[in-house]
């Protein structure tokens, strides 16, 4: 992460910024530094036999980006047609990934020390929670999500 170098002048502490978004009324967040852009969900081409949470591939100005439906990944019900999903383009180790979310909320500064790590590791992709004014912000780790998706496949392959 290059967040340490990215500190803006007015930040006196080790403040970071995060991108908060909604999935089924739950507030999630990823670190904002690696979010390269936010676009409306565009055309996503299906990838047969890929794990269900991988919605497919998206052509982002000639760049082929896999799209991950966080609703499906986090085991929320499938997206109702009333919701226009938003694509969060995240750079993970120089590869771009698209995370589909319900609604983008905000980009806000936070103190990483305030983030409480998860009490149990039941949800391996959760980095921690941060109490906000009226809700809890659940911090997600894109790296862990990807690793998780890769692990699911190796498991299912070894079974099959």
């Amino acid at each position: 992460m290059n967040s340490k170098v990215m500190n803006t002048p007015e930040e006196t502490t080790d403040q970071k910024r995060c991108c908060t978004f909604l999935i089924e009324n739950t507030c999630f967040a990823v670190e904002a530094d690696n979010v390269t852009e936010v676009v409306q969900r565009g055309v996503i081409n299906n990838v047969p036999l890929a794990s269900p949470a991988i919605s497919g591939l998206l052509n982002l100005r000639g760049r082929i980006v896999p799209a991950i439906d966080l609703r499906l990944f986090l085991e929320f019900p499938t997206v109702p047609p009333s919701i226009k999903q938003i694509s969060l383009i995240v750079d993970v180790n120089n590869e771009w990934y698209c995370f589909l979310v319900d609604k983008l909320l905000d980009v806000k500064a936070y103190d990483p020390r305030q983030v409480t790590p998860p009490t149990n590791n039941s949800s391996s992709v959760l980095e921690g929670v941060l109490p906000d004014t009226d809700q809890l912000i659940h911090f997600l780790s894109p790296e862990k999500i990807l690793k998780n998706l890769l692990d699911i496949r190796t498991e299912s392959q070894s079974v099959g």
Binding site: V43, N45, N46, V47, P48, L49, A50, I54, G56, L57, L58, N59, R61, G62, R63, I64, V65, P66, E95, Y97, L146, L149, L150, R153, T154
Partner: protein
């Protein structure tokens, strides 16, 4: 002054390009010394450099090239004979000029080096020509004397200035005066080469900053997206629609052209190798012929730059370590000149570059020993490894089996750097080698940005690309046609194509694209061949062109697609090797046929039925192949064939005679119990026609005595037929040899030996 700098940088680029050409020309000239066009081209290059240097005031460089030009003049006039030593000298000159140029590039000045030795050698050679103008073959560069001269020089620096050159019988102190000595010849040469060059494609190219091109590619990508949006919104106004359609077409073409600007033939890189091979071979005192193949293979220009060093290293290695010394080669009965071949080709969206030599090969044992010595592997582990795996140790840091460290290679650094470099662009490298025969190093560079020809197919509503190199043929499946039919057991369908049976994979079913029952009755089989595996992919249709702008050539239906790598999230699936963006902006996945072959368990091709190895490991006492088959119908109504030479005789039984004893069916025959084997159980066939009612008769096919007292029980015998064509191993089921055309339809052939063994392990009822 700024103008001057601009001119100088132009001069530098042009000169360095010309020098590359010079390298090739000189090496070519060495092979064919009487090529006046080459000589003219060399002369012209040196002359241009000399002239331009004079113009910019680079007197040392100008002086050096003047010496060279003079020598070349003599060569061209036939006063000197072009030989290997002369070639070395001229190549040395090229290198010296390069040194000057790089000094000029970095500092703006030509630097201190003046190469007095080189000038002297050049002059000495010229003098030779003057001394013995008619004795062409005897001329040799007196290298010992020239080195003696060199040591005689009191101080190299003091003689560096051209005015102080002591050797000057034909060369003048003043370069301009020297020009006067050969004005008409040089003019003659120049005019000749000018006329040959005008037809050259070289003139049709310009230099563009690569970053600029990349920006264009990116911007065009954005334009394509915007165009698509425009197309969906503008539908009412006819004039607007017209304009939008034109924009659509133009953008499509623009995108295509922009993509192509990234590609360059590998030629650019391969051109450098004749010179390198020549130099390295000379340094090792070896004779090496270099064969270059596939230099028109296109790959991304950034990749060309990245594989330059690794390939150079591999070639050096091949010459230094691979090719044996002349003596050694003649002892082993090889021709004294070694062969190195450099081959590039595209395969399934990958560019493969092979560096192969016909040298001594690599000793697996030596590598193994060294690996154990270095603690990379234990002795036990190494003994179970394949040769390919063991050769991979060569790429470990500090690994070298060379006994002697030479200037060129053998210091144990390098191969790990080669691998690191190749891997950094997502490539792979592997070695195969046979002791005494040679070594092949295969570098595979990933698809990224390479353009490949492919077929775009549709299946179950998805579009997918199949790389063209794998495709053998396309076969149309029609509803009522009997010429090409797919039959065979559920799970192991085969396509009957001419006299062959080819296993097929229903792509839609395999990829889970739609309900099996909803598939159309017609379609196309794309017959592909991957290594030694041939199979058919059943698809709905082959897309030949896209509605408005036509990427595909109508006649072949091939598309030239720009391959992009897919995310590391999807590549481990082993089904897709990459993806491409179509003209409409949609993403189309490229099938990884190698992966599919493995995942779909396609059996390897067999040439003859006799080559077939059954799944059973037990040694065969009974000969399996036969051209005559007993075709019979099983109790479930399936058609199976039994090699006739494995049938001892046939006997009829009544079902009531069968004794279900001890978990198996037996029948009493000549006072002995004969075990009955039911082919339906072995083949897991489903009941199709229903069983005959009790009391009916059945046929026992009595098997040879070697297999025990056993018989196959079938419902009826259909006929004895001759089998046609090769036996296709379509299913890996135990007890089945494969599928064969018997009596005009595909029939499964029983593996009698396996079936009889199977019956011993698994009780029949």
């Amino acid at each position: 002054m700024a103008d001057n700098e601009e001119f100088i940088s132009e001069f530098l680029i042009e000169a360095s390009e010309n020098l590359d050409q010079l390298d090739q020309d000189l090496v070519a000239l060495e092979k064919n010394p009487h090529d006046p066009d080459r000589l003219a081209s060399i002369f012209r290059t040196i002359h241009t450099i000399k002239g331009t240097c004079g113009f910019f005031g680079f007197t040392k460089l100008s002086n050096l090239s003047h010496h060279g030009e003079h020598l070349l003049g003599l060569l061209r006039d036939g006063k000197l004979h072009f030989d290997e030593q002369l070639a070395s000298l001229l190549l040395e000159l090229v290198d010296a000029i390069r040194t000057f140029l790089s000094a000029i590039e970095s500092t703006g000045k030509e630097g201190d080096g003046a190469f007095p030795d080189l000038c002297q050698k050049l002059d000495a050679t010229c003098l030779l020509a003057n001394d013995a103008p008619n004795n062409q073959t005897e001329e040799r560069l007196p290298s010992p004397s020239s080195s003696a001269n060199q040591s005689d020089q009191p101080d190299d620096r003091t003689v560096s200035a051209p005015e102080e050159r002591p050797v000057a019988s034909t060369t003048s102190n003043d370069p301009t005066e020297a020009d006067k000595l050969t004005p008409e010849v040089s003019h003659d040469i120049l005019s000749r080469s000018e006329s040959t060059r005008s037809s050259n494609t070289f003139d049709a190219t310009i230099r563009v900053d690569v970053q600029l091109l990349d920006t264009i590619v990116d911007l065009v990508g954005e334009l394509v997206l915007a165009r698509n949006q425009l197309r969906t919104t503008a539908t009412d106004e006819p004039a607007l629609l017209d304009a939008v359609n034109r924009i659509h077409t133009v953008t499509g073409e623009l995108q295509e052209v922009a993509m192509k600007t990234r590609m360059a033939p590998i030629d650019q890189l391969f051109n450098k190798f004749p010179r390198i091979v020549r130099d390295v071979a000379a340094a090792c005192d070896k004779k090496v012929n270099l064969h270059i193949d596939g230099s028109d293979t296109e790959l991304d220009r950034t990749l060309i730059e990245k594989i330059r060093d690794p390939l150079t290293h591999l070639i050096r290695n091949a010459i230094d370590h691979g090719i044996e010394s002349k003596d050694m080669r003649s002892v082993t009965g090889k021709s004294t000149s070694g062969e190195i071949s450099l081959r590039a080709f595209q395969e399934s969206g990958q560019v493969t570059i092979e560096v192969s030599d016909d040298g001594a090969g690599i000793s697996v044992d030596a590598v193994c020993k060294k690996a154990v010595e270095k603690g990379l592997v234990t002795d036990d582990a190494a003994s179970t490894m394949s040769d390919e795996r063991i050769f991979q140790f060569i790429f470990e840091p500090g690994f070298s089996t060379a006994n002697a460290v030479t200037d060129i290679s053998g210091r144990g650094v390098g191969m790990d750097v080669v691998r690191t470099n190749i891997e950094s662009i997502g490539g792979t490298i592997d070695i195969s080698s046979q002791r005494g025969v040679g070594t092949v190093v295969r570098v595979r560079i990933p698809l990224t940005l390479a353009i490949i020809p492919a077929l775009i197919i549709s299946s179950g509503g998805e579009r997918l690309a199949i790389p063209q190199p794998y495709i053998q043929e396309l076969v149309a499946l029609r509803k009522n046609s009997t010429s090409h039919m797919i039959d065979g057991l559920e799970g192991a369908p085969v396509l009957r194509l001419r006299d062959r049976l080819i296993p097929v994979v229903y792509l839609d079913r395999w990829l889970g694209l739609r309900d099996w029952k909803k598939r159309p009755t017609s379609g196309t089989v794309v017959v592909v061949k991957v290594d030694n595996h041939e199979f058919g992919l059943v698809v709905d249709a082959v897309t030949t062109s896209e509605n408005q702008h036509n990427h595909a050539t109508e006649t072949t239906g091939l598309w030239f697609i720009v391959v992009k790598s897919i995310s590391s999230l999807l590549s481990p699936m082993g089904i897709y090797s990459g993806a491409t963006v179509m003209g409409d902006g949609s993403v189309v996945l490229i099938l990884d046929l190698r992966g599919i072959t493995m995942a779909a368990d396609i059996p390897a091709l067999t040439r003859r039925a006799g080559d077939l190895q059954s799944t059973s490991e037990e040694p065969r006492e009974v000969v399996q192949e036969s051209s005559r088959y007993l075709v019979c119908e099983t109790h479930n109504g399936h058609r199976v064939a039994v090699p006739l030479n494995q049938v001892q005789r046939l006997e009829n039984f009544l079902e009531s005679e069968i004794d279900p004893a001890a978990d198996a069916c037996f029948v009493k025959r000549n006072g002995e119990l004969t075990q009955l084997i039911d082919p339906d159980r072995i083949l897991h066939t489903s009941e199709e026609l229903g069983k005959e009612p009790n009391g009916s008769s059945l046929v026992g096919i009595i098997l040879p005595n070697e297999l025990g007292n056993k018989a196959l029980s079938v419902r009826r015998i259909i006929d004895v037929e001759t089998g046609h064509g090769p036996l296709e191993k379509t299913a890996t089921k135990r007890g089945l040899l494969g599928t064969l055309l018997v009596g005009g339809s595909a029939t499964e052939v029983m593996d009698i030996v396996a079936a009889s063994q199977w019956s011993e392990e698994i009780p029949l009822s």
